[in-house]
């Protein structure tokens, strides 16, 4: 059995009365992208800060690349790279100066620092801007430089805390490609995000976090299958309630010339369709909508992910 690259056991963090992370347990296999999905203030950032030794857990344990975060923080830092929620860069430095500083703090030799900085600037498409002040970079360029920084020491584990937050769609897509390239190179990635599409596109497995607790986990497909509502839409307003509810255990709404039937995860779509046809006759234009990850999230938390809401809440919790 492969040893996980990231393991969290009952990880808990209290800030006074506030329980920011509540007995969180999960593991991430080598070379896997694990997405921690949750709203702002759900405890994602606090979790990352504990896993990267920036914050001491109130209780529980975590092991990164075989090293305990509490007892072997230096080893954890050497084995992992981190990008924090806001790109942590000095706007007055150039991209090259920034990478040189990181390399020297990591105690690489001067020649090695220069070579690695040049290599990373090329790899992340920043060579042309290498000697410009970071303050002049776009948000996407700053994010790329931030990730390049995290990769300076070629860590086997990478933590990305909301890496595409605030980026335009084009920059977001470009960054997704970078993250997938890292996985292809064998890097284990823990990604926190509040973007459902991002989690769906990138993560091999997703953990849904709400109020500091991990409330569900699995592959996107598994989550949809286990928690996602599917919807059958039938033209016409039919009185299907009794019969369909017994099959789907969902709700039926008839309005505006349509009948909409929510099918709960454990119900069979085929059986529901057969029942509908037996009651309403053969109907054309029946549409079956598969559950989206958003449906899963709403089902699990009772709330939508509100991307515009509480960025400050998460920071306060962190």
């Amino acid at each position: 059995m492969t040893t996980p690259s990231i393991e969290a056991h009952d990880l808990t963090k209290h800030f006074g009365e506030l329980v920011a992370v509540d007995h969180l347990s999960f593991s991430v296999s080598p070379g896997e992208i694990f997405g921690l999905l949750g709203r702002n203030g759900s405890g994602k950032t606090t979790t990352v800060r504990m896993l990267t030794t920036l914050l001491r857990p109130t209780s529980g344990a975590a092991v990164i690349a075989g090293f305990d975060v509490a007892r072997q923080p230096d080893d954890v830092r050497r084995s992992s790279g981190v990008t924090l929620q806001d790109a942590a860069l000095d706007p007055n430095m150039t991209g090259r100066e920034h990478l040189n500083l990181i390399g020297r703090l990591l105690q690489f030799g001067k020649r090695e620092v220069t070579a690695r900085a040049t290599e990373l600037l090329e790899a992340f498409g920043l060579s042309a801007a290498a000697d410009r002040r970071i303050g002049t970079y776009s948000g996407g360029m700053q994010r790329r430089l931030d990730i390049a920084t995290a990769l300076f020491a070629r860590p086997p584990v990478l933590f990305l805390d909301e890496p595409t937050s605030g980026l335009d769609p084009q920059s977001r897509r470009a960054l997704w490609d970078e993250i997938l390239r890292l996985r292809a190179d064998g890097t284990t990635v823990l990604l926190t995000t509040q973007y459902l599409e991002e989690a769906d596109q990138l993560a091999d497995r997703i953990g849904v976090i709400d109020s500091g607790k991990l409330i569900a986990g699995g592959t996107p497909r598994e989550l949809r299958a286990a928690h996602g509502l599917r919807t059958i839409t039938v033209p016409g307003e039919h009185h299907l309630t009794t019969l369909v509810v017994t099959v789907t255990a969902g709700t039926v709404t008839a309005r505006d010339g349509l009948t909409i039937i929510d099918v709960l995860p454990d119900a069979s779509i085929d059986e529901a369709l057969a029942q509908i046809r037996s009651v309403a006759g053969t109907l054309e234009d029946i549409t079956v909508t598969k559950a989206s990850l958003e449906d899963v999230f709403v089902h699990l938390t009772g709330r939508e992910i509100n991307t515009a809401s509480a960025r400050s809440t998460d920071r306060a919790a962190a």
Binding site: V82, D90, R104
Partner: protein, 261 residues
């Protein structure tokens, strides 16, 4: 890798970053600290050069007495230039990026203390030269100049700790700059301007408790007195202890701040 190597490499990287910051903004970093003492040297030696007859200066001449004090004021005027960047690093989260690469957060301050020590050298040289032109004396020659420069460097580093602590506690780049008036009090309640014998009793008591007094007296002895005297040795010891206290205190405050997450 031993602990010394682990500290010196990253510290020199932070030092180099501070040097770059200083060269990007040389006015406040390198030249501003010299401006008030230069003006003081010109004004005080021109206006009060005849004070000798009123107050008994231990050096026999007000001008000779005042120039070493003015040189020490270079270390205090414009103190803690790099503290604003410390606050900015904390506020922006850049400090997290940096501390993820090093063994302890204190390493991130050591290089800055180093820069605080060297950035005043141009100012010290300027005030020394102007002071000599305006009636100061340097019978101890180059060794005397080197010792007085060393004392000013140590005082600058020691004094920077106050600004670092303010920057770390508030995370506000402006707050340390607002502490600059403290330098006026610290200077006037020392022997930088007049001997203790000429002070009112309350000021004399304060000057006796002020470590800057010991350092200024040592600087004066290094410049125009006995370079090998106990006064110089005491000044070096107090200044070095001041640096140590500043480093330990600001490191502890930073550690405490960061451990709270």
């Amino acid at each position: 890798m031993n602990a010394l190597t682990a500290a010196t490499g990253p510290s020199s990287a932070v030092f180099a970053r501070s040097v770059r910051e200083g060269l990007r903004d040389p006015g406040p970093a390198l030249f501003l600290p010299a401006l008030p003492p230069l003006l003081l040297v010109i004004a005080m030696t021109s206006l009060f050069g005849r004070l000798n007859g009123v107050i008994a200066f231990p050096t026999g001449s007000f001008k000779e007495f005042f120039v070493p004090g003015a040189i020490m004021i270079v270390a205090i005027a414009g103190g803690g230039f790099t503290s604003a960047q410390v606050a900015e690093d904390l506020r922006s989260g850049f400090i997290d990026r940096l501390r993820l690469q090093v063994r302890g957060p204190l390493i991130l301050l050591l290089g800055r203390f180093g820069f605080e020590a060297i950035r005043i050298i141009p100012g010290v040289a300027a005030v020394l030269c102007v002071g000599l032109l305006f009636g100061g004396a340097l019978p101890n020659g180059l060794p005397g100049a080197l010792v007085i420069t060393l004392l000013a460097m140590l005082l600058s580093a020691a004094y920077a700790g106050l600004f670092y602590i303010a920057a770390i506690v508030t995370e506000d780049p402006q707050t340390p700059l607002n502490l600059n008036p403290v330098g006026i009090i610290v200077s006037f309640l020392s022997t930088a301007f007049i001997p203790r014998a000429a002070m009112p009793s309350w000021a004399d008591t304060a000057a006796g408790l002020n470590p800057v007094t010991v350092i200024v007296d040592g600087a004066r002895a290094a410049m125009i007195g006995d370079l090998t005297s106990a006064t110089v040795a005491a000044a070096l010891a107090v200044a070095t202890a001041g640096v140590a206290i500043s480093v330990v205190a600001s490191g502890a405050v930073l550690n405490r701040k960061l451990s709270r997450g």
